[in-house]
């Protein structure tokens, strides 16, 4: 069943990467010797500091002497946007300040046990086969498993043919929330036993030395997570969808790593099982406590209300039962406050409640269930159903409130309380597994999971070396859906577990996590940035008091140093696409934030971008998906034209303000044009991408230190 390569791997050959840059400036800025690294880092820090100081110089001038109060709504909106961007510059600066270039993990431990999880959900069999083969070929002894959430016979057969492990959901998951990929992994964790787990997506082909290269980090007993960059082998020249994210899988990850906050991306990463399991057990305890407290509070209210009802509806023995039960609830609450274990408290309470209601309720069951059944979220066909529905209520504040605010007969109240407390049993009846090692609060389970690990003192590393090669989206629709999901997931985490409030994270970690969410708010401020020049050119509304020399001398140094900083940070990489996309996808960011808020606050389902495809002559283009951007571009172009025409015709002599706004528009147009390229992009028909032939040489990271 399981591949277990026990042959000792040959020693790693140090390979010197010698296609290095030759220009002196390149030699200076490209990773290389330690001295050069230090110098580069020093230059970066100077630029970061200069950027923030000049930014402060500008923003303080904006606050103190350039707000145009005559058009205060727009002025304040623009100022808010600029403040947002300045705070963003701080987050970026803090991140880069600690940029950490690791020089390799050192040799791996000799006797570690490693599991490789290939998560898949109905991907083409041959794609997964390629991944499975490459995974099996890795040198370090390990077991490879396919985690097939589609559970198809063909996939099972392939796993058998390739002699790798095959895992599907256990019986426990039937009819319960599957929690997508997080559930798939949590399920497999309870069926396997390796100390370390390498996560691969269905399309991700690992290098034969992948495990060797990163396992060494785990010699640090506190090391929980090692993330490697996501590299794609099907990305065409120009990277139309900005898949490679060179700024993120590089300086940003290295900066976060410097704060011990390397960002977990869910795959091409290795995790220590103990860290995940410990986090799962803690989470179990935390959720259980919350549910018990909620149930007891609800029970208290139900009983208090039932006792207030007129005497004729409740004979003396019922009233007595109510007061005994209420005492028991109070006793349970008191016991929990004193620190008596939950198991004991619930066991005792359930004994009392079972006793009381058993005597009273038996004869009236059907009437009581009928009465309870018209509470939203409850399906009280019989005792077991009632318990299950009440269990669901404990995670759903609204329906729980509906239950407790409602007048019911004393008997029904007693039964409801009894079932409520049975529902809050220690077994998490509503979940397939009491322990969920992977967080389920967000569609980006990876981020939430890693944040919990960081909050409990575990360490992480970002290993900057291409070891795993995958497939990027090949059309705009898929690319947009992927970005939307990331943005929505991040916002879910922000709203459900705000990193700034998480106990146990260092302030640096809090800021690094918060910064990730912060960037997704940019959509709203992009609106202001896009609207400002249009409003000026069409209507003469200027949110800044003077576009004069003063404005230039405050803004220009900041802009220049800012661009210089990006040039040095992303030296030798094209970070341009990333800059374009952060503005160009503004409608998507706005949708993501709004839908995540609706999801977290009002329980609405997360939606996806759905727009019909258009098919002009053979190829598929996706202009419909970027309609908003196209309309925006047209408005911007018209505004620029209008402004220039007025200037040319001598209608106005506001030369500078018009030119500045036209330049501003030109910049916006260049940024937005990224989506036009992407929408028109046609995947090469005869291009069958292949992962790099393995083994290909890896640069010797250790040699450079």
């Amino acid at each position: 069943m399981v591949s277990n390569e026990t042959a000792m791997p040959p020693p790693l050959e140090p390979v010197v990467l010698d296609n290095g840059p030759t220009r002196w400036l390149d030699r200076f800025f490209t990773p290389g010797t330690e001295n050069r690294e230090r110098l580069r880092h020093a230059v970066l820090r100077v630029l970061v500091a200069a950027n923030l100081i000049l930014g402060f110089y500008y923003i303080s001038w904006r606050y103190t002497s350039s707000i145009n109060w005559a058009v205060w709504p727009l002025s304040l909106a623009l100022l808010a946007g600029e403040t947002y961007s300045y705070i963003d510059a701080w987050f970026f600066g803090l991140c880069i300040w600690r940029l950490k270039r690791r020089s390799g993990a050192g040799p791996p431990p000799v006797d570690a046990t490693v599991d490789v999880f290939i998560t898949c959900y109905n991907e083409p069999i041959d794609l997964v086969r390629r991944t499975a083969r490459a995974a099996k070929r890795m040198r370090y002894p390990h077991k490879t498993y396919i985690l097939d959430d589609g559970s198809t016979p063909a996939m099972r057969q392939m796993a058998e043919e390739e002699d790798v492990g095959y895992i599907v959901r256990s019986e426990d998951w039937k009819g319960r929330n599957r929690h997508a990929k997080a559930g798939n992994i949590s399920n497999a964790l309870l069926q396997t036993d390796g100390e370390f787990i390498l996560f691969l997506d269905a399309d991700q082909v690992p290098h034969p030395h992948c495990v060797d290269r990163i396992l060494g980090y785990f010699k640090d007993p506190q090391m929980a997570l090692v993330q490697t960059p996501q590299v794609f082998y099907n990305v065409p020249k120009g990277d139309p969808f900005n898949s490679q994210a060179p700024l993120f899988y590089g300086p940003i990850q290295q900066g976060k790593d410097g704060w011990n906050a390397a960002f977990f991306c869910g795959s091409n990463a290795m995790i220590r099982r103990e860290a995940l399991m410990m986090s799962g057990v803690r989470r179990y305890v935390w959720e259980l406590e919350r549910r018990v407290h909620r149930a007891l509070r609800a029970a208290h209210k139900l009983l208090a209300d039932a006792r207030k009802q007129p005497a004729e509806t409740s004979p003396p023995h019922v009233r007595q039962a109510l007061s005994v039960l209420q005492l028991a609830v109070g006793g349970a609450q008191e016991a929990l406050r004193r620190g008596v274990p939950i198991q004991e408290v619930t066991w005792r309470f359930q004994g009392i409640a079972r006793d009381i209601s058993g005597r009273l309720v038996r004869e009236d069951l059907s009437r009581i269930y009928a009465e309870l059944a018209d509470i939203p979220g409850i399906d009280a066909g019989d005792a077991a159903d009632l318990q299950a529905s009440l269990s669901g209520l404990l995670d759903d504040g609204e329906s729980l409130a509906a239950l407790t605010s409602r007048q019911s007969s004393p008997l029904a109240a007693i039964e409801a309380v009894r079932s409520l407390l049975l529902a809050v049993d220690v077994d998490r009846e509503d979940e397939a597994q009491p322990i969920m090692p992977m967080s389920t609060i967000s569609v980006t389970e990876d981020m939430a999971t890693a944040m919990r690990l960081h909050a409990t003192g575990w360490r992480s590393a970002y290993h900057h070396e291409a070891l795993v090669f995958g497939l990027a989206p090949e059309d705009l629709r898929t690319a947009l859906q992927q970005r939307l999901r990331w943005a929505q997931g991040t916002m879910q985490v922000m709203l459900r577990e705000n990193p700034l409030l998480i106990h146990g994270l260092s302030w640096g970690q809090k800021l690094m996590y918060f910064a990730t969410g912060w960037t997704y708010l940019s959509g709203f401020f992009s609106l202001v940035y896009l609207a400002s020049p249009v409003l000026y050119l069409f209507f003469g509304i200027l949110p800044v008091r003077a576009l004069s020399n003063d404005f230039f001398w405050h803004l220009l140094p900041f802009l220049i140093v800012n661009q210089l900083m990006f040039v040095v940070v992303g030296w030798g990489k094209t970070t341009w696409r990333g800059q374009q996309y952060s503005l160009a996808l503004f409608p998507l960011w706005i949708t993501a934030v709004i839908s995540a808020c609706e999801n977290v606050w009002f329980g609405k389902k997360l939606g996806f971008v759905v727009t019909p495809k258009t098919r002009p002559g053979g190829g598929i283009t996706y202009y419909g998906l970027v309609r908003t951007q196209i309309i925006t571009m047209i408005i911007l172009a018209l505004a620029a034209f209008w402004g220039l025409a007025r200037l040319a015709l001598g209608v106005t002599d506001d030369g500078w303000p018009i030119l500045i706004n036209v330049l501003w528009i030109a910049y916006d147009l260049v940024m937005l044009s990224a989506v036009l390229d992407a929408a028109a992009f046609q995947p090469y028909q005869d291009f069958e991408p292949e992962p790099p032939p393995a083994p290909f040489p890896l640069p010797d990271l250790a040699a450079s230190s």
Partner: protein, 111 residues
């Protein structure tokens, strides 16, 4: 991991574990606890006295057993946790759910 089961006169099943309760033995122990419950012994006491090492996967197995027992209307208690086990219980805050009884007798007494 060595597992011995002894059914006491009051119907409580005392399950004595011997060895390491860790990621390697967790799956087996969880299955074994489930089997006891299925066999009708739903009131369990797990004797940890001879467990030399326990990790979070091991705790996961105990929680799995607790789930099975509770669903059958029973319970699972732990007794004679070693210092190392107590540290792990504290670290994961599982001591807020499970009371570590000092002896098997104490654990059985309350049932």
């Amino acid at each position: 991991m060595d597992v011995r089961v002894e059914i006491q006169t009051n119907g409580v099943a005392v399950i004595a574990l011997d060895g390491r309760l860790d990621l390697l033995s967790a799956v087996t122990v969880k299955e074994r606890l489930g089997k006891e419950v299925l066999a009708g012994n739903m009131r369990l006491v797990v004797d940890l006295g001879a467990v030399t090492f326990i990790d979070s996967s091991g705790l996961g197995a105990l929680i799995g057993g607790l789930k099975a027992a509770r669903q059958a209307g029973g319970d699972l208690r732990i007794a004679r946790a070693t210092n190392q086990a107590l540290v792990v219980l504290k670290l994961t805050s599982l001591d807020r759910v499970l009371r570590p009884f000092a002896s098997v007798e104490e654990a059985v007494a309350g049932y």
